[in-house]
């Protein structure tokens, strides 16, 4: 299964509207985010999410999830092995529900080591893979 297909499964989690996956070096492995958000924006934002999770683990070892709740959305940063899964969600998404529902997805995404192979572009699709 392609990594992006795992990300699409995250949309079944109540409140989740999109997601992307970075590797341990902060490189984009897969994305399920509207195409008007550029890859490099996701990389820069994702690296800050990774920094937030790393910082939280200093006083609280073993922390595996950081949620930033903004006025217009919530950003969930979830450790997936060496990778980082970032979920974009409605601001009212319940943390406990997202945490439980994404556990299996994060476990499978932990096995991803390289970006998905390029897929044929579909101009009708609202979302795209890494480009």
């Amino acid at each position: 299964m392609l990594a992006v297909e795992e990300l699409l499964l995250a949309r079944d989690v109540p409140g989740v509207t999109g997601s992307f996956l970075l590797d341990g070096d902060g490189r984009l492995l897969a994305r399920d985010v509207p195409v008007d958000v550029a890859d490099d924006v996701l990389v820069v934002a994702g690296r800050r999410c990774g920094a937030a999770l790393a910082a939280a683990r200093v006083p609280m070892p073993g922390s595996d999830q950081v949620v930033l709740r903004f006025a217009q959305l919530a950003v969930f940063s979830v450790r997936a092995g060496r990778n980082l899964l970032v979920l974009l969600a409605e601001d009212a998404a319940e943390t406990s529900v997202v945490r439980i529902a994404t556990r299996a997805i994060a476990a499978r995404l932990a096995l991803v080591e390289r970006p998905d192979p390029p897929q044929p572009p579909d101009p009708a699709a609202p979302f795209a893979g890494p480009g």
């Binding site: 200093v58 006083p59 073993g62 922390s63 999830q65 903004f70 006025a71």
Partner: protein
């Protein structure tokens, strides 16, 4: 700032807009300083994604944190939060924080 019972695993903390930290013990102080850093990272994420003001920060794991931010046009945000060494859900910490604020 005090807790309701010495055995209570939940610790309160607060970071004023000028950076002054109020915490009941060293662990809560360290967490409060970390949460203040997370707020700075969150502001950068918001700029990138157009997400609006950062309102709350949650950390989950063996321990858990729930913190809320109140923004001021003059100085940095004021952060009020709770640390639970036993890792209760952010929702329960949120409810408890709101109970404190009432």
């Amino acid at each position: 700032m005090s807790n309701r019972h010495p055995a209570d695993p939940v610790r309160a903390f607060r970071v004023e807009g000028d950076g002054y930290v109020e915490a009941v013990d060293p662990a809560a102080r360290q967490v409060s300083e970390t949460v203040a850093y997370l707020a700075r990272l969150g502001a950068a994420v918001s700029e990138l994604l157009g997400a609006g003001d950062l309102r709350a920060i949650e950390v989950m794991g063996p321990a858990s944190v729930y913190a809320e931010l109140r923004h001021s046009p003059i100085e940095g945000p004021t952060i009020s939060g709770l640390l639970d060494r036993l890792g209760s859900s952010p929702e329960s910490l949120r409810d408890r924080l709101h109970g404190r604020l009432q």
